[in-house]
C-alpha cells in the first residue's frame, strides 16, 4: 500500500505536475486532481497572502490515514495528498490532491472526498492576511472522531 500513496505537509511549493507524475500508472484510466489556490479577492476584501500552520507530524499521519481509506474504498491505483504550510502567496497552491483509478467515477469521488476530509479533519490552520495589514484565523471545523480511541 505504501508505495501507492504520497503524503506531504511542509513549506515547499506544490506543483500539479509532481502530483500527476506520482499517480500516473498504466493501470489507470483516469486521473482526477484538485488544487486549492489562494484567491486574491473574496468579495471586496483583498487577501495578500495566506499563512498555514500545521501540527505537521500528526497532519501527515492523518492525511495518510485518509489516503489509505480512499485507496481502499474507491479502488484507487495511487493517491497523492499534500498541504503546504507557511506563507502562500495568491495564485499559489495550498493543497493538492491527485488520484488515479481504472474508471473516472471513482477518481472524481475519491478526489472530492479527500479534499473535503483534508479541510475538516487534518490539524492545519489558515490565517488570512489582508492588504491593510490585519490578520485573521479562519473559522474552521471540529474534526470528527471516527470510532478511534476513547
Amino acid at each position: 500500500m505504501e508505495e501507492r500513496i504520497h503524503v506531504d505537509c511542509g513549506p515547499a511549493a506544490l506543483a500539479v505536475v509532481d502530483a500527476v507524475a506520482f499517480v500516473a500508472d498504466e493501470r489507470a484510466g483516469g486521473i482526477a486532481v484538485f488544487a486549492g489556490t489562494t484567491r486574491r479577492y473574496t468579495d471586496d476584501l483583498e487577501t495578500v497572502e495566506l499563512k498555514y500552520e500545521a501540527f505537521e507530524q500528526m497532519a501527515v499521519s492523518e492525511m495518510r490515514k485518509l489516503a489509505v481509506a480512499a485507496v481502499e474504498e474507491y479502488s484507487l491505483v495511487k493517491a497523492y495528498v499534500a498541504h503546504r504550510v507557511g506563507r502562500v502567496a495568491f495564485g499559489e497552491t495550498s493543497v493538492l490532491i491527485a488520484v488515479s483509478s481504472a474508471h473516472r467515477d471513482e477518481a472524481f469521488k475519491a478526489c472530492r472526498v479527500l479534499i473535503d476530509q483534508v479541510k475538516t479533519q487534518v490539524p492545519i490552520w489558515k490565517k488570512e492576511v489582508y492588504a491593510d495589514g490585519s490578520e485573521e484565523w479562519v473559522k474552521g471545523s471540529v474534526p470528527v472522531l471516527r470510532g478511534r480511541k476513547s
Partner: protein, 77 residues
C-alpha cells in the same frame, strides 16, 4: 501539551509540560487548562484533543509521558 494557531497566540505558548499526579481524562485536563489560561475559555466547547497524534474523545485517559495536543477547529485547504 501542544498549542497551535490561535491558542498558541492567545496563550503565548507552543508547549506546556504538565506532570500528572495520576492518569486523568482528557476533559479534566482541558478544564484545568481553561482555569489557568482563561483566554482558552471561549474555545472550550469546540476543542478536540489529540493524544500521541491521534484524535481522542474527552473520556480518553492520559498518562504521564503522553503528548496531548489541543486542536481548535481546523481550517486547512
Amino acid at each position: 501539551i501542544r498549542f497551535f494557531a490561535i491558542l498558541r497566540e492567545l496563550t503565548g505558548m507552543r508547549t506546556l509540560a504538565m506532570s500528572l499526579d495520576k492518569p486523568e481524562e482528557v476533559g479534566v485536563i482541558l478544564d484545568r487548562l481553561v482555569a489557568h489560561h482563561p483566554a482558552i475559555g471561549p474555545y472550550r466547547t469546540a476543542l478536540r484533543a489529540a493524544v500521541n497524534q491521534e484524535y481522542v474523545d474527552e473520556a480518553f485517559t492520559v498518562f504521564n509521558g503522553d503528548e496531548l495536543a489541543v486542536i481548535t477547529p481546523v481550517s486547512g485547504g
